[in-house]
Amino acid sequence: MSDPSAITSQALSAIGATQSPEQLDRIEIEYLGRKSGQISKLLDGIGKLAPEHRAALGKAANEAKQAIQEALDAKRRELESARLADLAETEAIDVTFPGPPLAQGHIHVLTQVQRQIETVLESLGYQVELGPEVETEWYNFEALNIGPGHPARENWDSFYFSPHLLLRAHTSPVQIRAMQRIKEPPIYIITPGRCYRRDAPEATRLPYFSQVEGLAVDKGLTVGDMKGTLLYMIQSLYGRERKVRVRPSYFPFTEPSFEFDVTCGICNGVGCKACRHKGWLEVGGCGMVHPQVLRNGGIDPAQWNGYAWGFGIERMAMLKHDVDDIRLFYESDLRFLEQF
């Protein structure tokens, strides 16, 4: 039978020589194991000893156990800190190697741009309003002051199903439907949606496209309010440095009518190749709602007035993302769609 101090020094030297945590675990069992550890064995025959020896041995054994445990813990800490210190070498990987491809699909760029537009205008209190794409001629033309034989009708050359049923040429019919439904202003709506015109497909236009129109009907609205709304929208979408101008034009459903232009983002309005040296890019049309159109929507123009505007979502996306061919949006080539 060894004495506790011999066991202790034996254990401490074993611990000192150890370089792995597994070896330490074995040493712990060998010396401190509950049943067959050296310290336990030392105490096996303790009952036979005289009481005074018993106390002394117990005390010595406890001290030995404590010393060994402390040495083990210290060694473990030493090994762990050495391991952590060496991590840079022992566990280094090639961090420049790429991760596995993520099968991530893409939201269509037109959906993205439409959402941006909606978000900006919703922040001004406008509500999204949707309507049918197959429309009656009344909603598409008559209600908007474009009677039969109107010289402007050729601007909205349309696809017909019958003399009175057609694919809407703009989302303006939704404005009339909204006025009829809401009845009592204030009305602040935007109408995103698909439209159709009988134009052969080319790089700048398609027989199908998407518009967002806005309509405000309230008391005492002004051209200034319309300009401010457009400016807020454009600057929110394209940045603070953009300017908006309204240019007199003609639409049967607004009076006065305007085209609205935005300063070219490439030259900042100075004039460059992209804007054909004009400094301005045409974006859409706008104007104060014609009194007859309000009447057609069931609104009394003596009490209320309004402004409206509209533009192509594709046009906005083309300006924002430098897309030069509108057909790309509807061709569904994933190599294009995955760029956004």
Binding site: T111, Q127, L130, L165, P192, G224, E255, R335
Partner: protein, 794 residues
């Protein structure tokens, strides 16, 4: 329309106003100048050809010229043969940039020096002609070309359809007058110059049968004209505006058209039978040989100008060849009329013939313009072609233009614009635009628009007139204030609510597409989904003649396109409307349900198709969950476009939303797609209607017990049916059940399959004992045995 800057100077003082300034002013006023072409001829010199020989070495047809440039002679090579010795020609010397943008350089062509270029009209932007060298009729060698042809500028103007008065230089000049605040040099209505007897109306009998279609017809008689080329300045202006000179009489009618916007026509009076002019509808079967050399058959919808026995012109569109002015013409009848816009448009469309005249009549010209145009043309004909204008023309005017008066509250201007325009300034603007403004006793304005402004009829029109001249740049941008007790609470649109499904799909690798709703009707028929389709009556082409009744074929085409372009795995979706009309009610607005559809490619084997089907179903479940709707159940179904053995109806709370499945092999084959395709298409509105905001549940306080159960049943028993029985016979403590494996083989007899489920039991009140779970399991087993003769694998 092309506008010559120099021509505008005839009407308004442009001293100190550059073409660019004029263009900017016009654009601000609402006449958009799309482009401005400066034709600077100051660098071009006049040369006289002394000698012309064919290039002896060049294989191309080239001519070598010796050209006298005043102080020296240069050798110049050209490709056109028309600069014969003695010709005066425009010469661009090396270092000069020609108006069309070409830089002239010193050249050596097959051993011959070429020191300059002889210019064509097209190269100098003086016309379309590029077939030969421009031959000048006067000038001195060595002098700048501008001594005979001034530099000028041409603007491409976009005229809105409400302003027929602006489709001529006079109208544009009036805008500049108002915009620049400069006086006009000429009155709208020229003086009448006819003095000769007998009165014109005794020389030709004019009548109008259709006053609704022709509100005015002026027939002016001018005798003794000498037909020949028109003067240089006139030809140049016509060319600058894209009109080819023909002879002085025709050129004058075109010139006045470009000046006043009033179309005119000159007949050879000697060739008019009667002589008589009758404005009537064409008779069925009548024909006319038009000035473009094409013989056309007319219909009763078309208005014609006829003499005593045949049509001599198609009203407002084109004249007839047989009565046209020729070199032999001596006496002419000058027509200046007003035809109904829609009628002219209809005729022009029916004939496929849109002319300068018809384009103007379509916009509804003011009848007063007819007189102004006729007078202007008559004085030009007298001056240039030496004609004698007779007095008292025939002027049949059954529908005289009625003046419109507008009662306007001047405060409306500020109210609409949102800025203060001083009243004097507003009044001055209206006056500059030729409106008469008179204040009435009550402070309102009584406004009379000029005769050429039929578009101004309501007070808002006057606000626009004031605003555009005042300048909208001067209106400060504001946002409307809200002072209401009423509003509509914010609510996302249907489309926006689908975004959470879009997120699930993109997370699963599906890319969103926007595909045209116009598709091929034939394709719909081939796929047997055309019963509810609407067909466009005036389609652009066969492949866009119908509205789609399903999104899936579009997505199959997308797969085909991307496969063609090298992509193997394609996963795509679309959120869009389909269009379904009741059979037999083709004139009614269709149902336009909003749908969600997705398609994914799979390998060619049945097993790959099966795996892809289940993967897609998981995505669909994810979409439904993403939309916060209750879980869907699936019933075996058969549907168009789908594989007969691999298609399920998607059912939500008893309502069928659509289908999910493998697509029918013929569907992928018809799009030439190899391998299998899986897809789904569901109606979104019922899903959104069923959506509920989730209610928070307390977190479980006691552990769950999971048990697996392998159920052996005959092949035909569906997992869905087993699930239903398990849920039915399970106690309240059955929290969740999920099928996770299907097995055939060892230990499972032929004709049978083993379906494995994981069941989760939990009580909200205590930890369940094994005995309790065993009891629940045996009840479930009993149910499965009874209903489906199930056995169980350990």
């Amino acid at each position: 329309m092309l506008i010559s800057y120099e021509w505008l100077g005839d009407f308004v003082d442009l001293e100190g106003v550059t073409p660019q300034t004029a263009a900017d002013v016009l654009t601000r006023l609402g006449i958009e100048i799309e482009s401005l072409t400066m034709v600077d001829l100051s660098q071009i010199v006049i040369g006289k050809v002394l000698e012309q020989v064919k290039h002896p070495k060049s294989r191309a047809d080239l001519w070598v010229h010796q050209v006298d440039l005043g102080e020296r002679t240069e050798q110049i090579i050209a490709g056109a043969p028309n600069a014969v010795p003695g010709s005066l020609v425009p010469v661009a010397l090396p270092g000069t940039t020609v108006p069309n943008g070409k830089l002239v350089k010193d050249m050596n062509i097959a051993g011959y020096q070429a020191r300059g270029m002889l210019c064509s009209a097209a190269e100098l932007l003086l016309g379309e002609d590029h077939s030969g060298i421009l031959i000048l009729d006067r000038g001195h060698p060595g002098e700048p070309l501008t001594t005979v042809i001034p530099s000028h500028a041409v603007m491409q103007a976009e005229i809105t359809s409400n302003r027929p008065d602006e489709v001529g230089h006079l109208g544009i000049a009036r805008e500049l007058e108002a915009g620049l605040d400069r006086p006009m040099k000429r009155d709208f209505m020229p003086a009448f110059t006819g003095t000769a007897s007998p009165p014109g109306r005794e020389l030709v009998d004019v009548s109008i049968d259709e006053p609704e279609l022709c509100s005015r017809y002026i027939g002016g008689v001018i005798k003794g004209v000498r037909v020949g080329p028109s003067p240089d300045w006139m030809q140049r202006r016509l060319r600058a505006c894209g009109v080819r000179p023909i002879n002085n009489i025709v050129d004058i009618t075109n010139y006045v058209l470009l000046e006043y916007a009033q179309p005119l026509h000159a007949f050879d009076l000697a060739k008019l039978r009667g002589p008589e002019i009758r404005v009537r509808r064409a008779r069925a079967g009548e024909r006319i040989l038009a000035l473009d050399g094409i013989d056309r058959e007319l219909t009763a919808e078309m208005l014609v100008i006829a003499d005593s026995d045949r049509p001599v012109a198609i009203a407002g569109v084109i004249g007839g060849e047989e009565t046209a002015v020729s070199d032999q013409t001596i006496d002419i009848l000058l027509e200046s009329a007003n035809f109904n816009g829609p009628s002219v448009r209809q005729t022009a469309r029916a004939l496929g013939l849109r002319t300068e005249a018809s384009a103007r009549f379509e916009r509804a010209l003011p009848p007063e313009l007819a007189l102004a145009g006729a007078r202007r043309a008559a004085s030009l004909i007298a001056e240039i072609a030496g004609g004698i204008v007779h007095r008292d023309w025939a002027d049949v005017y059954p529908r005289p233009q009625q003046p419109v008066r507008i009662d306007m509250r001047p405060g409306l201007i500020d109210d609409v614009l949102g800025t203060h325009v001083p009243l004097e300034e507003a009044e001055s603007i209206l006056k500059r635009l030729n409106f008469h403004v008179k204040a009435d006793g009550g402070g309102n304005w009584d406004v009379l628009p000029p005769v050429f402004r039929l578009d101004v009829t309501i007070p808002e029109d006057l606000v626009e007139e004031v605003g555009r001249v005042y300048g909208y740049d001067r209106v400060p941008p504001t946002l409307p204030g809200r002072r209401h007790e009423k509003w509509t609470p914010a609510a996302p649109s249907i489309d926006r609510r689908v975004d959470s499904a879009r997120d699930v799909l993109t997370g699963a690798g599906f890319t969103e597409t926007w595909n045209p709703a116009l598709v091929s009707g034939r394709q719909l028929e081939t796929l047997h989904i055309s019963a509810h389709a609407m067909r466009v009556s005036n389609a652009l082409s066969d492949d866009m003649d119908s509205l789609r009744t399903s999104i899936l074929p579009s997505l199959v085409d997308v797969v085909a396109l991307n496969r063609d372009r090298g992509r193997v795995d394609v996963r795509v979706f679309e959120v869009a409307k389909v269009f379904l009309v009741d059979v037999g009610e083709k004139d009614a607005q269709p149902e336009e349900p909003m749908r969600l559809a997705a398609v994914a490619t799979a390998g060619a084997s049945p097993d790959e198709g099966r795996v892809a089907f289940y993967a897609l179903k998981a995505v669909l479940d994810g979409c439904i969950a993403g939309l916060s709707a209750p879980a869907t159940v699936y019933d075996r179904a058969s549907a168009q476009l789908f594989h007969p053995g691999r298609c399920a109806a998607v059912v939500l709370e008893g309502r069928q939303l659509g289908y999910v499945g493998e697509l029918h092999p013929t569907v992928s084959a018809s799009a030439k797609v190899e391998g299998r395709l899986v897809g789904f298409e569901i109606d979104l509105e019922p899903v959104l209607a069923a959506a509920r905001a989730p209610h928070a549940q307390p977190l479980p306080r006691f552990p769950a017990v999971e048990r697996d159960l392998a159920v052996v049943v005959e092949e035909h028993v569906a997992a869905g049916a087993l699930l239903a029985v398990i849920k039915e016979s399970g106690s309240d403590q059955l929290e969740h059940v999920r099928a996770f494996d299907e097995y055939r083989g060892a230990q499972v007899p032929d004709g049978y399959k083993s379906v494995a489920f994981t069941l989760t039991f939990r009580s909200p009140e205590r930890t369940l004992t094994d005995a309790e779970v065993d009891k629940a399991m045996s009840e479930i087993k009993l149910g499965l045995e009874k209903r489906h003769g199930a056995r169980f694998r350990e």
